[in-house]
Protein backbone atom coordinates (compact mmCIF):
# COMPACT_ATOMS: atom_id res chain seq x y z
CA UNK A 1 0.00 0.00 0.00
CA UNK A 2 2.71 2.47 1.06
CA UNK A 3 4.83 1.39 -1.85
CA UNK A 4 1.93 1.95 -4.18
CA UNK A 5 1.42 5.50 -2.90
CA UNK A 6 5.12 6.15 -3.13
CA UNK A 7 5.13 4.96 -6.74
CA UNK A 8 2.16 7.15 -7.55
CA UNK A 9 3.83 10.17 -5.94
CA UNK A 10 7.04 9.51 -7.85
CA UNK A 11 5.09 9.25 -11.09
CA UNK A 12 3.26 12.46 -10.33
CA UNK A 13 6.48 14.21 -9.37
CA UNK A 14 8.10 13.07 -12.61
CA UNK A 15 5.06 14.25 -14.54
CA UNK A 16 5.11 17.63 -12.78
CA UNK A 17 8.81 18.16 -13.11
CA UNK A 18 8.39 20.04 -16.38
CA UNK A 19 7.26 23.57 -15.67
CA UNK A 20 8.00 23.32 -11.97
CA UNK A 21 9.73 26.70 -12.00
CA UNK A 22 6.61 28.21 -13.52
CA UNK A 23 4.36 26.70 -10.84
CA UNK A 24 6.64 27.77 -8.01
CA UNK A 25 6.93 31.26 -9.46
CA UNK A 26 3.17 31.57 -9.88
CA UNK A 27 2.77 30.52 -6.26
CA UNK A 28 5.18 33.27 -5.21
CA UNK A 29 3.34 35.77 -7.41
CA UNK A 30 0.06 34.91 -5.72
CA UNK A 31 1.67 35.23 -2.31
CA UNK A 32 3.20 38.57 -3.30
CA UNK A 33 -0.20 39.76 -4.56
CA UNK A 34 -1.81 38.90 -1.23
CA UNK A 35 0.93 40.69 0.72
CA UNK A 36 0.79 43.74 -1.53
CA UNK A 37 -2.98 43.93 -1.23
CA UNK A 38 -2.65 43.76 2.51
CA UNK A 39 0.07 46.42 2.59
CA UNK A 40 -1.96 48.70 0.26
CA UNK A 41 -4.85 48.56 2.73
CA UNK A 42 -2.44 49.27 5.58
CA UNK A 43 -1.19 52.33 3.66
CA UNK A 44 -4.79 53.51 3.18
CA UNK A 45 -5.48 53.07 6.88
CA UNK A 46 -2.36 55.09 7.71
CA UNK A 47 -3.53 57.90 5.43
CA UNK A 48 -7.05 57.83 6.88
CA UNK A 49 -5.65 57.86 10.42
CA UNK A 50 -3.77 61.07 9.67
CA UNK A 51 -6.92 62.46 7.97
CA UNK A 52 -9.05 61.56 11.01
CA UNK A 53 -6.58 63.28 13.31
CA UNK A 54 -6.72 66.43 11.17
CA UNK A 55 -10.53 66.25 11.11
CA UNK A 56 -10.65 65.94 14.90
CA UNK A 57 -8.39 68.97 15.16
CA UNK A 58 -10.58 70.91 12.69
CA UNK A 59 -13.70 70.13 14.74
CA UNK A 60 -12.02 71.01 18.04
CA UNK A 61 -10.65 74.35 16.76
CA UNK A 62 -13.94 75.23 15.08
CA UNK A 63 -15.81 74.61 18.35
CA UNK A 64 -13.34 76.79 20.24
CA UNK A 65 -13.69 79.59 17.65
CA UNK A 66 -17.50 79.36 17.53
CA UNK A 67 -18.39 78.63 21.14
CA UNK A 68 -15.44 80.03 23.07
CA UNK A 69 -16.36 82.99 25.26
CA UNK A 70 -13.74 85.32 26.74
CA UNK A 71 -14.49 87.20 29.93
CA UNK A 72 -12.86 88.60 33.03
CA UNK A 73 -12.83 86.33 36.03
CA UNK A 74 -12.56 88.34 39.22
CA UNK A 75 -10.00 85.86 40.58
CA UNK A 76 -8.05 84.55 37.58
CA UNK A 77 -8.16 87.45 35.12
CA UNK A 78 -9.09 86.87 31.49
CA UNK A 79 -10.20 83.34 30.73
CA UNK A 80 -12.20 81.39 28.16
CA UNK A 81 -15.10 79.02 28.65
CA UNK A 82 -16.59 76.83 25.94
CA UNK A 83 -20.33 77.35 25.97
CA UNK A 84 -21.81 73.87 25.69
CA UNK A 85 -25.51 74.25 26.50
CA UNK A 86 -28.18 76.77 27.45
CA UNK A 87 -27.36 76.54 31.16
CA UNK A 88 -23.67 77.29 30.61
CA UNK A 89 -24.48 80.30 28.42
CA UNK A 90 -22.99 83.51 29.85
CA UNK A 91 -25.27 86.22 31.04
CA UNK A 92 -24.47 88.53 28.12
CA UNK A 93 -22.29 89.02 25.03
CA UNK A 94 -22.58 85.49 23.75
CA UNK A 95 -23.95 85.91 20.24
CA UNK A 96 -23.35 82.52 18.63
CA UNK A 97 -26.47 80.50 17.78
CA UNK A 98 -24.52 77.29 18.44
CA UNK A 99 -23.31 75.42 21.52
CA UNK A 100 -20.49 72.88 21.73
CA UNK A 101 -22.81 69.90 21.17
CA UNK A 102 -23.91 67.30 18.61
CA UNK A 103 -25.70 69.87 16.48
CA UNK A 104 -22.60 71.96 15.92
CA UNK A 105 -20.43 68.85 15.41
CA UNK A 106 -22.83 67.78 12.63
CA UNK A 107 -22.58 71.26 11.09
CA UNK A 108 -18.77 71.12 10.93
CA UNK A 109 -18.80 67.51 9.75
CA UNK A 110 -21.17 68.30 6.87
CA UNK A 111 -19.03 71.24 5.81
CA UNK A 112 -16.00 68.91 5.61
CA UNK A 113 -17.82 66.06 3.87
CA UNK A 114 -16.68 67.08 0.37
CA UNK A 115 -13.04 66.37 1.28
CA UNK A 116 -13.69 62.85 2.56
CA UNK A 117 -12.95 59.54 0.87
CA UNK A 118 -15.90 57.49 -0.40
CA UNK A 119 -14.70 54.54 1.63
CA UNK A 120 -14.62 56.54 4.89
CA UNK A 121 -17.68 56.25 7.14
CA UNK A 122 -18.45 58.31 10.25
CA UNK A 123 -21.82 58.93 11.86
CA UNK A 124 -21.38 62.38 13.46
CA UNK A 125 -24.13 61.70 16.02
CA UNK A 126 -22.67 58.44 17.36
CA UNK A 127 -19.01 58.31 16.34
CA UNK A 128 -17.84 61.77 17.41
CA UNK A 129 -17.52 62.37 21.15
CA UNK A 130 -16.77 65.62 22.95
CA UNK A 131 -14.91 65.57 26.27
CA UNK A 132 -15.76 61.94 27.07
CA UNK A 133 -15.09 60.15 30.34
CA UNK A 134 -12.44 57.44 30.48
CA UNK A 135 -12.42 54.02 32.06
CA UNK A 136 -9.69 53.05 34.49
CA UNK A 137 -7.76 51.39 31.67
CA UNK A 138 -7.78 54.58 29.62
CA UNK A 139 -10.56 53.72 27.15
CA UNK A 140 -13.23 56.22 26.21
CA UNK A 141 -16.76 55.57 27.52
CA UNK A 142 -19.09 55.92 24.50
CA UNK A 143 -21.89 58.44 24.90
CA UNK A 144 -20.44 60.01 28.07
CA UNK A 145 -19.57 63.69 28.38
CA UNK A 146 -17.56 65.49 31.04
CA UNK A 147 -19.12 68.96 30.96
CA UNK A 148 -16.75 70.39 33.53
CA UNK A 149 -13.89 70.31 31.04
CA UNK A 150 -15.71 72.88 28.87
CA UNK A 151 -15.41 75.25 31.82
CA UNK A 152 -12.01 74.36 33.27
CA UNK A 153 -9.49 72.41 31.22
CA UNK A 154 -6.13 70.86 31.97
CA UNK A 155 -4.45 74.22 32.69
CA UNK A 156 -6.95 74.83 35.50
CA UNK A 157 -8.18 78.12 34.04
CA UNK A 158 -9.51 77.87 30.49
CA UNK A 159 -12.08 75.46 29.14
CA UNK A 160 -11.06 72.85 26.57
CA UNK A 161 -12.55 70.54 23.97
CA UNK A 162 -11.35 67.00 23.35
CA UNK A 163 -12.77 65.45 20.18
CA UNK A 164 -12.76 61.67 19.63
CA UNK A 165 -13.63 60.25 16.22
CA UNK A 166 -14.23 56.56 15.51
CA UNK A 167 -14.33 55.90 11.77
CA UNK A 168 -14.93 52.80 9.68
CA UNK A 169 -12.93 52.24 6.50
CA UNK A 170 -13.86 49.83 3.68
CA UNK A 171 -11.03 47.48 2.76
CA UNK A 172 -10.30 46.89 -0.93
CA UNK A 173 -8.69 43.49 -0.58
CA UNK A 174 -11.08 42.03 1.95
CA UNK A 175 -14.41 43.05 0.37
CA UNK A 176 -17.26 43.52 2.81
CA UNK A 177 -14.94 44.07 5.75
CA UNK A 178 -14.12 47.33 7.49
CA UNK A 179 -11.24 48.56 9.62
CA UNK A 180 -11.92 50.80 12.62
CA UNK A 181 -9.88 53.94 13.18
CA UNK A 182 -9.89 55.93 16.39
CA UNK A 183 -8.21 59.33 16.69
CA UNK A 184 -8.56 62.34 18.97
CA UNK A 185 -7.47 65.97 19.27
CA UNK A 186 -7.63 68.60 22.01
CA UNK A 187 -8.04 72.36 21.60
CA UNK A 188 -7.66 74.69 24.54
CA UNK A 189 -7.80 78.45 24.00
CA UNK A 190 -6.17 81.00 26.23
CA UNK A 191 -7.33 84.57 26.78
CA UNK A 192 -4.84 87.38 26.63
CA UNK A 193 -7.16 90.26 25.89
CA UNK A 194 -9.63 91.43 28.45
CA UNK A 195 -12.67 92.50 26.51
CA UNK A 196 -15.62 91.60 28.67
CA UNK A 197 -16.21 92.47 32.28
CA UNK A 198 -19.17 90.66 33.68
CA UNK A 199 -20.24 88.92 36.79
CA UNK A 200 -19.84 85.22 36.14
CA UNK A 201 -22.19 82.52 37.21
CA UNK A 202 -21.39 80.81 40.45
CA UNK A 203 -20.93 77.42 38.79
CA UNK A 204 -18.33 78.87 36.41
CA UNK A 205 -16.12 80.16 39.20
CA UNK A 206 -12.97 78.20 39.86
CA UNK A 207 -12.53 76.77 43.33
CA UNK A 208 -9.04 75.68 44.22
CA UNK A 209 -8.83 72.85 46.66
CA UNK A 210 -5.89 72.77 49.00
CA UNK A 211 -4.90 69.86 51.15
CA UNK A 212 -3.75 70.74 54.64
CA UNK A 213 -0.95 68.40 55.63
Amino acid sequence: MVKNIKNKFQKLYKFRKKGSILIVTLFYVLMALAFLGFSYDIARIMYLKSYTRNLASVIALSIVNECGHVYQDSVNGARVVIVHDVESRPLKDYKSPYYADKRYVREIFNRNKSGMDKTYHVDPDKDILLNPYYTGSGNVIPGSINKRRFEIGSDGINGEVEVHITAKVDLFFLPGRQATIHESAIAQPSATLTRHYEIIREEQRIFFEYINW
Binding site: I21, V29, S50, N54, V58, N65, R111
Partner: protein, 158 residues
Protein backbone atom coordinates in the same frame (compact mmCIF):
# COMPACT_ATOMS: atom_id res chain seq x y z
CA UNK B 1 -26.66 12.15 -47.39
CA UNK B 2 -24.84 12.78 -44.19
CA UNK B 3 -21.21 12.01 -43.61
CA UNK B 4 -18.02 13.42 -42.30
CA UNK B 5 -15.20 14.95 -44.12
CA UNK B 6 -11.81 13.77 -43.14
CA UNK B 7 -9.06 16.34 -43.23
CA UNK B 8 -5.55 15.28 -43.87
CA UNK B 9 -2.49 17.16 -42.67
CA UNK B 10 -0.18 18.26 -45.40
CA UNK B 11 3.46 17.35 -45.34
CA UNK B 12 4.36 20.91 -44.34
CA UNK B 13 1.94 20.91 -41.40
CA UNK B 14 3.26 17.60 -40.12
CA UNK B 15 6.74 19.07 -40.31
CA UNK B 16 5.76 22.04 -38.14
CA UNK B 17 4.09 19.72 -35.64
CA UNK B 18 7.18 17.56 -35.21
CA UNK B 19 9.43 20.58 -35.00
CA UNK B 20 7.30 22.07 -32.22
CA UNK B 21 7.21 18.71 -30.41
CA UNK B 22 10.98 18.38 -30.55
CA UNK B 23 11.35 21.95 -29.28
CA UNK B 24 9.10 21.15 -26.32
CA UNK B 25 11.27 18.20 -25.43
CA UNK B 26 14.38 20.33 -25.28
CA UNK B 27 15.18 21.39 -21.75
CA UNK B 28 17.73 24.07 -22.58
CA UNK B 29 16.39 27.57 -21.89
CA UNK B 30 13.30 26.28 -20.14
CA UNK B 31 13.88 28.46 -17.07
CA UNK B 32 14.35 31.51 -19.25
CA UNK B 33 11.09 30.94 -21.12
CA UNK B 34 9.20 30.41 -17.88
CA UNK B 35 10.80 33.51 -16.42
CA UNK B 36 9.64 35.56 -19.42
CA UNK B 37 6.11 34.18 -18.88
CA UNK B 38 5.95 35.39 -15.29
CA UNK B 39 7.88 38.62 -15.88
CA UNK B 40 4.68 40.37 -16.95
CA UNK B 41 3.03 39.42 -13.68
CA UNK B 42 6.04 40.60 -11.71
CA UNK B 43 6.01 43.93 -13.53
CA UNK B 44 2.29 44.26 -12.80
CA UNK B 45 2.94 43.64 -9.12
CA UNK B 46 5.77 46.15 -8.93
CA UNK B 47 3.66 48.72 -10.79
CA UNK B 48 0.75 48.05 -8.52
CA UNK B 49 2.90 48.59 -5.46
CA UNK B 50 4.51 51.79 -6.75
CA UNK B 51 1.19 53.28 -7.90
CA UNK B 52 -0.71 52.40 -4.74
CA UNK B 53 1.82 53.92 -2.40
CA UNK B 54 2.31 56.93 -4.66
CA UNK B 55 -1.43 57.65 -4.43
CA UNK B 56 -1.43 57.27 -0.66
CA UNK B 57 1.64 59.47 -0.26
CA UNK B 58 0.10 62.20 -2.43
CA UNK B 59 -3.20 62.03 -0.56
CA UNK B 60 -1.43 62.24 2.79
CA UNK B 61 0.63 65.28 1.77
CA UNK B 62 -2.37 67.07 0.19
CA UNK B 63 -4.37 66.45 3.34
CA UNK B 64 -1.57 67.87 5.47
CA UNK B 65 -1.21 70.90 3.18
CA UNK B 66 -4.99 71.56 3.19
CA UNK B 67 -5.07 71.39 6.98
CA UNK B 68 -2.10 73.74 7.39
CA UNK B 69 -3.54 76.11 4.79
CA UNK B 70 -6.93 76.43 6.45
CA UNK B 71 -5.37 76.60 9.93
CA UNK B 72 -3.29 79.60 8.85
CA UNK B 73 -6.22 81.20 7.00
CA UNK B 74 -8.59 81.25 9.98
CA UNK B 75 -6.09 82.97 12.29
CA UNK B 76 -7.20 86.54 12.95
CA UNK B 77 -4.42 89.09 12.92
CA UNK B 78 -5.28 91.92 15.34
CA UNK B 79 -2.51 94.14 13.95
CA UNK B 80 -3.89 94.19 10.39
CA UNK B 81 -7.44 93.52 11.50
CA UNK B 82 -7.98 90.70 9.01
CA UNK B 83 -7.09 87.23 7.77
CA UNK B 84 -3.92 86.45 5.82
CA UNK B 85 -5.16 84.31 2.91
CA UNK B 86 -2.08 84.75 0.70
CA UNK B 87 0.11 83.73 3.65
CA UNK B 88 -2.06 80.65 4.17
CA UNK B 89 -1.74 79.70 0.50
CA UNK B 90 2.03 80.11 0.72
CA UNK B 91 2.06 77.90 3.80
CA UNK B 92 0.17 75.11 1.99
CA UNK B 93 2.40 75.38 -1.08
CA UNK B 94 5.51 75.33 1.07
CA UNK B 95 4.38 72.03 2.60
CA UNK B 96 3.68 70.55 -0.82
CA UNK B 97 7.09 71.63 -2.06
CA UNK B 98 8.95 70.28 0.95
CA UNK B 99 7.09 66.94 0.99
CA UNK B 100 6.72 66.18 -2.73
CA UNK B 101 9.22 68.53 -4.38
CA UNK B 102 8.98 70.07 -7.83
CA UNK B 103 6.23 68.36 -9.83
CA UNK B 104 5.48 68.35 -13.55
CA UNK B 105 1.76 68.77 -13.05
CA UNK B 106 0.11 71.76 -11.42
CA UNK B 107 -1.16 71.39 -7.87
CA UNK B 108 -4.06 73.72 -7.25
CA UNK B 109 -4.34 75.29 -3.80
CA UNK B 110 -7.53 77.23 -3.26
CA UNK B 111 -8.67 79.03 -0.10
CA UNK B 112 -12.18 80.44 -0.34
CA UNK B 113 -14.75 81.68 2.19
CA UNK B 114 -17.44 79.10 2.93
CA UNK B 115 -20.27 81.26 4.15
CA UNK B 116 -19.37 84.31 6.20
CA UNK B 117 -17.71 82.49 9.11
CA UNK B 118 -15.69 79.67 7.50
CA UNK B 119 -12.72 79.19 5.24
CA UNK B 120 -12.30 76.18 2.99
CA UNK B 121 -8.88 75.07 1.73
CA UNK B 122 -8.80 72.64 -1.20
CA UNK B 123 -5.64 71.01 -2.55
CA UNK B 124 -6.14 69.22 -5.86
CA UNK B 125 -4.00 67.82 -8.67
CA UNK B 126 -4.28 65.60 -11.74
CA UNK B 127 -1.59 63.06 -11.07
CA UNK B 128 -0.21 60.80 -13.77
CA UNK B 129 1.23 57.67 -12.25
CA UNK B 130 4.12 55.52 -13.36
CA UNK B 131 1.82 52.51 -13.65
CA UNK B 132 -1.73 53.81 -14.07
CA UNK B 133 -3.45 50.74 -12.71
CA UNK B 134 -5.59 51.86 -9.82
CA UNK B 135 -7.17 54.97 -8.44
CA UNK B 136 -8.40 55.62 -4.87
CA UNK B 137 -12.03 54.95 -5.77
CA UNK B 138 -11.64 51.62 -7.51
CA UNK B 139 -9.65 49.48 -9.88
CA UNK B 140 -9.03 50.01 -13.54
CA UNK B 141 -8.26 53.72 -14.04
CA UNK B 142 -6.10 54.11 -17.13
CA UNK B 143 -5.73 57.87 -17.22
CA UNK B 144 -4.73 60.69 -14.84
CA UNK B 145 -6.32 60.47 -11.43
CA UNK B 146 -7.60 63.61 -9.75
CA UNK B 147 -6.55 63.59 -6.12
CA UNK B 148 -8.25 66.16 -3.95
CA UNK B 149 -8.56 66.91 -0.24
CA UNK B 150 -10.19 69.81 1.56
CA UNK B 151 -10.84 71.09 5.06
CA UNK B 152 -13.30 73.72 6.26
CA UNK B 153 -12.73 75.50 9.56
CA UNK B 154 -14.45 78.22 11.59
CA UNK B 155 -12.68 81.60 11.59
CA UNK B 156 -11.26 83.04 14.78
CA UNK B 157 -13.37 85.85 16.10
CA UNK B 158 -11.88 89.37 15.96
Amino acid sequence: MTGFSQTYLTFKEVGWFYMFKSLMKKKKGQAMIEMVCVLGLYLFLIGFMITGFQIMHNKMVYSMAAYEGVRTAIAYNPTTGGYNISGAKDRAEKILKSQIGETNGLIRVEIVPDGSDYYKCTVEADVKFLFPIINPNGLGAMRESTISTSFTMRKERP
